[in-house]
Amino acid sequence: MEVPLNHYLILSGLLFTIGVVGVLTRRNALIVYMCIELMLNAVNLTFIAFSRHLGDMGGHMFTFMVMTVAASEAAVGLAIIISLFRNRQTVDVDDVNLLKG
């Protein structure tokens, strides 16, 4: 039996929400980063589900671009985390308040 579209959308919404909760509540910058990856994945699932449902390949292209952005984000974000650790000896987002007014 074919899986209806809204099942995929509900799963994707739940995954995105778990990612949001992680970003808002965790202190470790690496885990915050992984939660952002989880949110990107949830959006990808929505794109692919709609792409299959509408019979249009455009969603695959968007997923491709999201993956590219995630790869470059991994490179730059992890470099930022490493230089943060080198300068402050912490990756705790509560301790990094240099730009706080």
Partner: protein
């Protein structure tokens, strides 16, 4: 059968995501995120997105997560007491409200009988040949912009990670 596979993959994906957010050790979180990405790759394969499923495994579970694990081992972090942020009450309230809002709005908006029926897909939907042909004809400009973005990311990462420029 397909529904059963969907529930299997979906359950494991949700389980791994919740575990990732709750886990105390960053290494455990990274491994659970890899489990989650494997489940999503299975779902992509069920949705006829074969190339994207393979790319998910290669790029996400392979390259990006290995990089994350590498950084976790490099930094050798020890979790202090209290993994939750200091502004926990307000932020948790916001998080739980977001969760509730998402679930209710998604379920309320979507009545399966009102959705347009699923369109029939052509031969070779989601295969390498078709994706590649579209990528190099209709989507050639985003493709080139993506290559420039990757180059900028490489240069930026090298400059950020270098101790002295």
């Amino acid at each position: 059968m397909q529904l059963l596979m969907f529930y299997g993959f979906g359950f494991f994906a949700l389980f791994a995501a919740v575990g990732m957010v709750m886990s105390r050790q960053p290494v455990m979180s990274a491994l659970l995120l890899i489990v989650n990405m494997f489940c999503l790759a299975g779902l992509y394969a069920m949705l006829n997105a074969h190339l994207i499923a393979v790319l998910q495994l290669l790029v996400y579970a392979g390259a990006i997560m290995v990089l994350v694990l590498f950084v976790i081992m490099l930094l050798n972090l020890r979790e202090k007491q209290g993994i939750i942020s200091k502004h926990q009450v307000a932020l948790q309230a916001v998080g739980i409200m977001a969760l509730g809002f998402f679930i209710i709005s998604v379920i309320a908006k979507l009545d399966p009988s009102k959705l347009p029926p699923s369109k029939a897909i052509g031969a070779g939907f989601g295969t390498v040949v078709v994706v590649g042909r579209i990528l190099f004809t209709d989507y050639i400009l985003p493709f080139e912009i993506a290559s420039v973005l990757l180059l900028a990311a490489i240069v930026g990462a090298v400059i950020l990670a270098k101790s002295k420029v």
